[in-house]
């Protein structure tokens, strides 16, 4: 049985039940924000939220996901509005970006349970590997996202996707609205 929920939608994967969740997400659901980096749980680039836990999706089979709720980076928010996403842009965390989905998912799960984690708690919760060296910014961004979650700060650093041309023209004088709008 391989029926469960991905980003609030019910799915059934007609795949080998032993298939790691990572590959069902990537190759069957085309949710490519979750990345393959090692397949052995070392890098954390494939981290997703399963029932509120940060799990390496390369280490869990789709059979083991039966009946559970899976959230991927695509389902974290519809419009990059999650405090972790906003803090990640405000602190300019990503470089190549490849490991960042996993980092963000791990941070989001950590902060849901504890909006003011200590450095030691952050270190324990985020065991993902980043080769570009975004670590110092990750610490800062997790703390900042915590402040947003605690209502101490608001951030509007990352714009939502899909801005309409008319709205862009209203906000930016150099832009022209398309004809007929």
């Amino acid at each position: 049985m391989t029926k469960f929920s991905v980003n609030d939608r019910p799915v059934e994967y007609r795949m080998d039940p032993e298939t790691p969740l990572l590959w069902a997400l990537r190759d069957a659901s085309n949710l490519t924000g979750t990345k393959y980096g090692c397949g052995t749980g070392d890098c954390g680039a494939c981290t997703v939220d399963i029932d509120g836990e940060a799990i390496r999706s390369c280490l869990v089979t789709i059979a083991e996901c039966e009946g559970r709720l899976v959230t991927t980076i695509e389902g974290l928010s519809r419009d990059r509005s999650h405090p972790v996403q906003q803090a990640w842009v405000a602190e300019q965390v990503p470089q190549c970006g490849f490991c960042q989905s996993g980092m963000i998912m791990a941070a989001a799960v950590l902060l849901r349970g504890n909006s003011s984690p200590s450095d030691a708690e952050i270190d324990a919760a985020i065991t993902n590997i980043c080769r570009c060296g975004t670590y110092p910014r990750i610490r800062a961004a997790v703390r900042r996202a915590g402040r947003v979650l605690r209502g101490e700060e608001r951030i509007a650093a990352a714009p939502p996707p899909g801005i309409r041309p008319e709205d862009a023209a209203r906000a930016v004088p150099a832009m022209r609205a398309p004809p007929g709008s």
Partner: protein, 762 residues
């Protein structure tokens, strides 16, 4: 900023890349070729495509009727921020509103050749020493001409801004003048009296949007030479603008080569044989094809690929195909590598650089010597090699991250028998790279598989393949010998470095499509100045020499973030520390006494030690210093590190960097943070042993890469500077290992002369 911008184009740094003199000399030498560099020739335009409401101004710039500004970036985005930096330069000169700026990757064209890298690296093949200036100039022109003709669009050597700031500014200046000319025509004004700001052309209270002018402006003829924008009250250059790629990198929508999805696409995994003269001997076809969801198997002389409905099924099937490879010749092993380095060090080498009279100065005096050993270094980006390929009629479409797109396309064409014009390359962002994307084998393999199975296919290497099959940065062994003056200062220094002639290998693989094992053999014994780059010290040492002792280690080697400087700085900066200890001198004052001719480096060192609270290098202080210069930038690092129950503990890194003027200080800081972490990884791991022709490591955790919990506290300062921009991608890397090694000596009194440090517990 204003002062700098006013003189743009009139100072040598931003002058056209080919000087008038070298152009004339070159034209004579090469038969009357001439290129108009100051203004981008329109003849090259057809190579860019535009939407119906977009207007091409030149190779770097399109403007839409709606006012959007599309900047064209001819470099691979691998995290270094180039898809923000070059647009920022363009937007600044153009007078655009940053919110209207978009980015496209450049198509393959001679217009985007990175002549700077070719020029810098030419030292590897033609050491300049002893060549009269005039001849060097001719050769320089020929090299650049070669780079242009072959569209050598390399992303390497921290060169993106150093190479493309000038062309980007020229391109923006040209477009800006055209917009002003069109506006002036409509206003019946003089265009020289117009200005631009925030996406508008301005003149005496009147203003027109770029978008309203673009269509007509793009058809005008610009003046020659380009006219630059005078100072702006609010320049974009130097601002901490948010990277353009960040929104897509926090919601999973940023696409890498392995994220392409095409109708009917299938997934491939691969097993390749060991380095060396390898061939695929046999597979168990029946067992493999019986695996669930497996569709095809593709056999090649040197590899086998399984193709399935998902990647995991393909990779699992490879176990059942049980490929057997046969490798002729001696097998690569760590022991053999070490022996080859030792024997190269003992044999004759090539003198690459020399100053003073080393032999004379050392004769009859007792030299002090120390040997250092550095293990091979893996790139280990989190993205494994990935490519997507699809046959499209007579053509082939390939999506891949590459640092040399023209050479990647050529490699694909050569392997498939297609014409280069039939191969359409989509350059993707890289998930790290660190120079691993100079290797094109994954693109070639994906192309071969797609043509054989006649379906779109995505190939991703497993982590084990990535560790085993990407040639690492070379291992190196050095013998440092010095004689001292009466005060304990260094009078003469010889850096003898045994290391493979990596750059000959890289060139043969990249440009001549020679297999890695043959390129490795052919390079044996050749002089390679770039393999010992960074070894000539900036210290005022009266007599010094750098020797390259080419080592034939059997293992193919590659370029890597920081390249040779990553080991030469370790050798020099550890040895200098040893000499300071011997002289009974503080490591800071010992260095400062020799930095009279290198004031920029001296300033970095003084600032770093002040910021970090240098305690004088006393025994037990756990502080270590290192400094280095490369690619026009300078760095000094103060590390605090000591052994602990849990292994080596790096507590703090305090770095001061002079990288000239900064296009974007935030990205500059990211690059130094990243370089330090990358250097830290190489100081403690990022390596593997070799046995029986293959790497012994298979999994990421075996590489000992640092995690957040091992990430030290970092303090990074930039020196305010008006100098031309220096490179930033690599400058953080080389100083980390020597600073930590020196700190460990201060902490323990034990000197570690090997990298990685952690392999040799204290």
């Amino acid at each position: 900023m204003a002062g700098i911008r006013d003189t743009v184009g009139r100072q040598s740094g931003r002058a056209p890349l080919v000087t008038r003199r070298s152009l004339l000399v070159g034209a004579t030498a090469a038969g009357g070729l001439a290129l108009a560099w100051s203004v981008w020739p329109r003849d090259y335009r057809p190579n860019l495509t535009a939407a119906p409401d977009e207007h091409i101004f030149n190779a770097f710039l399109k403007i839409g009727d709606d006012g959007h500004v599309s900047t064209i970036v001819p470099q691979c985005e691998m995290g270094q921020g180039v898809t923000t930096l070059l647009p920022q330069i363009i937007a600044d000169e153009l007078g655009a509103d940053w919110r209207t700026v978009a980015v496209e990757t450049a198509p393959i064209s001679p217009l985007y050749a990175n002549t700077l890298v070719v020029d810098e690296d030419s030292a590897a093949f033609m050491p300049r020493a002893g060549v009269p200036d005039f001849v060097a100039d001719v050769r320089g022109w020929v090299r650049r001409e070669w780079a242009v003709r072959h569209a050598v669009m390399l992303t390497a050597n921290s060169s993106s801004v150093r190479m493309f700031e000038g062309p980007c500014r020229d391109a923006a200046a040209q477009a800006r003048v055209l917009l002003m000319m069109e506006a002036a025509r409509r206003w019946d004004a003089n265009w020289q009296e117009c200005d631009t700001q925030d996406g508008f052309v301005l003149h005496q209270g009147k203003r027109l949007r770029f978008g309203e002018l673009a269509a007509a402006a793009a058809r005008l003829t610009p003046p020659d030479p380009p006219v630059y924008r005078a100072s702006s009250t609010d320049p974009l250059y130097g601002k901490e603008l948010t990277r353009l790629d960040l929104p897509a990198k926090v919601d999973g929508s940023a696409n890498y080569a392995g994220d392409i999805r095409l109708p009917d696409m299938v997934y491939a995994a691969i097993r390749q044989g060991p380095f060396g003269a390898t061939r695929l001997k046999s597979i168990d076809k029946k067992a493999g094809l019986a695996s669930r969801d497996v569709l095809y198997v593709v056999e090649h002389e040197r590899w086998v690929a399984a193709v399935a409905r998902n990647w995991w099924a393909a990779n699992r099937a490879l176990d059942r195909f049980a490929p057997v490879f046969e490798t002729r010749g001696p097998q690569i092993s760590t022991d053999r590598i070490d022996a080859a380095l030792s024997s190269a060090l003992a044999a004759d080498g090539w003198r690459i650089a020399q100053q003073g009279d080393v032999e004379g100065a050392m004769e009859g005096r007792t030299g002090i010597a120390a040997e250092y050993l550095v293990a091979p270094a893996l790139h280990a980006p989190i993205e494994t090699r990935s490519a997507t390929a699809a046959v499209d009629g007579d053509r082939l479409r390939v999506w891949v991250a590459t640092q040399a797109p023209a050479q990647c396309r050529a490699a694909i064409a050569r392997a498939t028998g297609l014409a280069e014009s039939a191969v359409i390359l989509f350059p993707m962002m890289a998930g790290g790279s660190f120079d691993a994307c100079l290797d094109h084998s994954v693109a070639v393999q994906a192309a071969i598989i797609a043509r054989q199975i006649k379906r779109p296919v995505q190939l991703a290497w497993s982590r084990a393949e990535e560790i085993m099959r990407v040639p690492p940065r070379a291992p190196a062994r050095a013998k440092m010998t010095a004689t001292l003056n009466s005060a304990g200062g260094i009078d003469a220094l010889v850096s003898r470095i045994a290391v493979p002639a990596t750059n000959h290998e890289v060139r043969a693989r990249l440009f001549d499509h020679i297999p890695a094992d043959i390129a490795q053999r052919n390079a044996a014994g050749k002089a390679d100045a770039a393999a010992v780059e960074g070894a000539a010290p900036l210290y005022a040492i009266p007599h010094h020499a750098v020797d390259h002792c080419p080592a034939d280690i059997g293992l193919p080697t590659a370029r890597w973030r920081g390249n040779a400087d990553s080991y030469t700085a370790f050798f020099t900066e550890c040895f200098i520390d040893e000499m300071a200890t011997r002289a009974g001198s503080d490591a800071l004052s010992y260095r400062m006494a020799m930095l009279g001719d290198a004031p920029l480096l001296a300033r970095c060192l003084l600032t770093a030690t002040t910021l970090g609270g240098w305690e004088g290098g006393l025994s037990g202080s756990a502080q270590g210093l290192a400094c280095h210069a490369m690619r026009g930038s300078y760095i000094a690092l103060l590390a605090t590190a000591r052994p602990s129950d849990g292994g080596l503990q790096v507590e703090q890194l305090v770095a001061v960097v002079d990288a000239g003027r900064l296009v974007n200080p935030t990205i500059a800081r990211q690059q130094v943070e990243g370089g330090l972490i990358f250097g830290l990884a190489a100081a403690v791991g990022a390596t593997t042993d070799y046995e029986g022709g293959v790497a012994t490591a298979r999994k990421l955790h075996q590489l000992g890469l640092p995690k957040l919990s091992q990430s030290p506290e970092m303090l990074i300062e930039f020196v305010d500077s008006d100098r031309e921009p220096g490179g930033l991608g690599e400058i953080g890397v080389p100083v980390v290992a020597p600073a930590i090694a020196n700190a460990l000596f201060a902490a323990t009194g034990r000197r570690i002369r090997r990298l990685p440090l952690s392999a040799h517990p204290l």
